[in-house]
């Protein structure tokens, strides 16, 4: 607590004392005294949250230079700060201070001016690392709600765009913003979303990911039900489909729902390249999805139960590679899968030059050495490598890390029941998959309920001019995207 006391201590009014009392033991709180003609002004702020340049140039300077004795009311027209309000409410004043505003008051009046002078360092706008594209825009959200909204609004100048302001977290008072197109988004979905958000009773919200846990329909699942993206164009495209987006202050991730399974396997680049290559990549993703889940378990099932499935030549070559391996396929597979998960996590947290080393040491050295030492077979190394690469191709980080976990229980099923176990594993996934909902809409749409109209943008992507209607997921009110006349 640093005081810049003037001579006339008696001139400090009630508010000054109260503020000093409230912000006792808060070292970054300052009250600066501004001597003006006949009148004593004080400006209170929390350093680090405010832009000192704005305060000195646009608040202090005009007061100093004023000829007359300005009152608080007159200060309205004297300061150059653009966001000002008068207030008497003490709670509002202290809250405003904590959010980066400064408070101007004089010794003569009870009222004070709350000046919007927040200023802190923001990160530059860069391409989000986890969602980079080749052709799409290269802008990503940052940690500032207002800037994020601005980035997004450039894509959606529609007059029906609504942004509902929310405050989340009892202590953190995190600003959030629910964004949707009023004439397209389904009213019930918006209501449902608001209801769920209002039900959150937590002290602090720091990240979008935390919100997800509170509002998703089912938590006991490996499938993500909301998309968290850092891309303005992805957000805009979802909004135009009638979906709802939740922006949260100091988090670059924007939460979008309702989002179904097939949307998680789409990426922005699918629409920025021509439809045939885009479709090919889509198909690849679906194949990889199954490879990532089932390849190790198929290996286990075939080797421990159904080697008669394979023709003789193949059996011999597989047998040769497993000749020196003493442990059963299931242990071999679980061991290698865990090794690769560890490598992946180790590489993720390290600075990139070191993580490359980890990759080389882990992948090549351990893999090759393990084979030579006779702990695992060559084919197992190939299988594990393929599964890992297949899981990397899934565009959504959430989905990819979710499905990686599916393969462990299915590997156990395969070891116990062979091919039957693998198929039952798939059946359990399907059974679980169809029972999932996101914001009350079916997660398995458009596969089940089958909506053939949406299949234009499902496993393959047809040319844009064929997509005349909005996807059904968000139950958009206005179904038409392209009217019949124009192309």
């Amino acid at each position: 607590m640093r005081k810049r006391l003037g001579k006339g201590n008696q001139r400090k009014n009630e508010l000054y004392k109260k503020l000093q009392e409230t912000f006792k033991d808060v070292t970054d709180f300052y009250i600066r005294e501004i001597p003006a003609k006949n009148n004593q002004f004080f400006i209170a702020y929390i350093k680090g949250l405010v832009d000192s340049k704005v305060i000195s140039e646009f608040v202090i300077k005009p007061i100093m230079e004023a000829d007359e004795k300005p009152s608080i009311d007159q200060m309205h027209s004297l300061t150059y700060v653009n966001n000002i309000r008068l207030s008497k409410d003490y709670d509002a004043i202290t809250n405003a201070l904590r959010k980066g505003n400064s408070v101007l008051f004089s010794s003569e009046s009870d009222e004070c001016l709350i000046l919007g002078t927040p200023g802190w360092k923001n990160r530059d706008i860069r391409e989000p690392q986890a969602e980079s594209t080749i052709r799409g825009s290269h802008q990503g959200f940052i940690e500032n709600l207002k800037i994020n909204l601005g980035l997004f609004r450039r894509y959606v100048p529609d007059r029906n765009l609504k942004t509902i302001q929310l405050t989340l977290g009892k202590r953190s008072q995190t600003q959030a913003c629910l964004v949707f197109l009023e004439d397209i988004a389904d009213e019930d979905l918006v209501k449902e979303m608001l209801k769920r958000l209002e039900g959150i009773q937590i002290d602090a919200v720091l990240n979008t990911g935390e919100i997800q846990d509170f509002i998703e329909d089912s938590s006991i699942t490996l499938f993500p039900q909301f998309l968290i993206t850092e891309r303005p164009d992805t957000t805009a495209s979802a909004i135009y489909q009638g979906k709802i987006a939740l922006f949260i202050d100091h988090s670059p991730g924007v939460l979008i729902g309702p989002h179904n399974f097939s949307s998680f396997l789409q990426s922005v680049d699918d629409y920025s390249i021509r439809w045939l290559p885009a479709s090919f990549i889509r198909v690849l993703r679906y194949v990889s999805f199954f490879v990532a889940i089932f390849l190790p378990s198929l290996y286990i099932a075939t080797l421990s139960f159904h080697y008669e499935l394979l023709p003789l030549d193949l059996i011999i070559s597989v047998g040769e590679s497993r000749e020196r391996v003493p442990i059963p396929p299931i242990l071999e597979a679980i061991f290698m899968e865990i090794v690769i998960e560890v490598l992946r996590e180790a590489g993720l947290r390290l600075p990139s030059p070191i993580s490359q080393t980890v990759g080389i040491v882990g992948g090549i050295v351990i893999g090759q050495a393990a084979v030579e030492a006779g702990i695992v077979s060559n084919i197992m190394v190939i299988v594990v490598a393929l599964t890992a690469i297949a899981s990397f191709i899934i565009p959504s980080q959430d989905m990819s890390s979710g499905i990686r976990l599916f393969r462990f229980p299915i590997m156990v099923l395969a070891a116990l029941y062979g091919m039957i176990g693998v198929v039952i594993g798939l059946m359990i996934i399907v059974a679980h998959f169809v029972s999932l909902e996101t914001l009350g809409t079916p997660y398995s749409n458009p596969l089940a309920p089958t909506r053939l109209r949406d299949w234009k943008d499902f496993i393959i992507r047809l040319p844009m001019q064929k997509m005349k209607s909005r996807p059904t997921q968000a139950r958009a009110n206005d179904q038409i995207r392209q009217s019949k006349g124009d192309k």
Partner: protein
Amino acid sequence: MQRPYAFSEITNFQFVVLIVGAQVGIGILTLPGEIASVAGTSGWISVIFAWVLSSIASLIILKAMSKYPDQTIIDLFRSIFGKYIGSCFIIVWLLYTLFAAFIVFYTTIFVVQVWILPKTSITGLTILFSFPGYLVARHSVRVLGRYAEVVFFLTLWMFTFSFFLFENTYFSYLLPIIKEGWMPILQGTQKVLLSFIGFELTFMLYPYLQNKKFAVKGVIIANSLTLGLYLFIIFLCFIFFSPHDITHYKWPTLNLLKVIELPFIERLEILFLSFYLFTLSTTGIPYFYVSAVSLAKLQGKQEHYNHALFLFILMILISLFFSPTEKQLEMITKYWSQSALIISYIFPVIFLAFIYIYRKVVKRR
């Protein structure tokens, strides 16, 4: 009046695949052999007869149910016959569906044991199959419908392998048509009627159907799809195996697949039968669902997931103490199939007549 089942409406396509899924099951594996032994190579005519009968029965069910579009058969039993007699009917319906579920469950286990996993215990397989069964059966019809849709698309690829079979086929096996007169064909029809069972689920599904106008078309399409599939498999078996050979196989459909060998994969029937579990699941799970709902309604409960859990635990407990031999299983199936024929083909007629009389009596009052 608020429609009680609006929360779980099913689409037209879901309605169709649910019925097809319930119809196509174990039957398809054994059917070609069974009708060949009764009706010879003209057995396919029996299938068409059975299709006509099952379509008529389905239409009668729809006619009866359309008078009360917001009630399932379980609700109807109570609201028409009163609490006590209604409950008796529900118990009969419960036993019927429970036995259907039981038979599908155990026949599946039996086939799997014979063809793929001879050393795995019945209890082990029961526990395994209970997981997906419970996960679907605990939900509403809507989820059952979605499940049936996914299974429909997942199993479509299985047809592609039939192209490998057409090399060694002889169409002359089919001739002469109707060589032994009409009697064997009519006897065969009786066998095929069983394979069409599953359409009686319309009793349960109709109130959930979103677009009631589609119902008539829906059951006809469903029955016809089943007919098409049966005819396809039967023709394939008949032109592949000689008329004499086919009667020796218990599961001719699986024997067909044994013949196929691809450069990278042998014993295709293992892969096939494993995947066929999906089709079998859409036969068994709806019956489990209906039994669980009946049980819940008997207790006056709205939610049925606890009852579904109970039924699957019951299955696991049964498997601990009772492992049916092939003979026993056939016996149970025989008794059940007689009651199934009555419930699916005769009961709808009586029920429709009763409803007509009942409505007249009520109106007069």
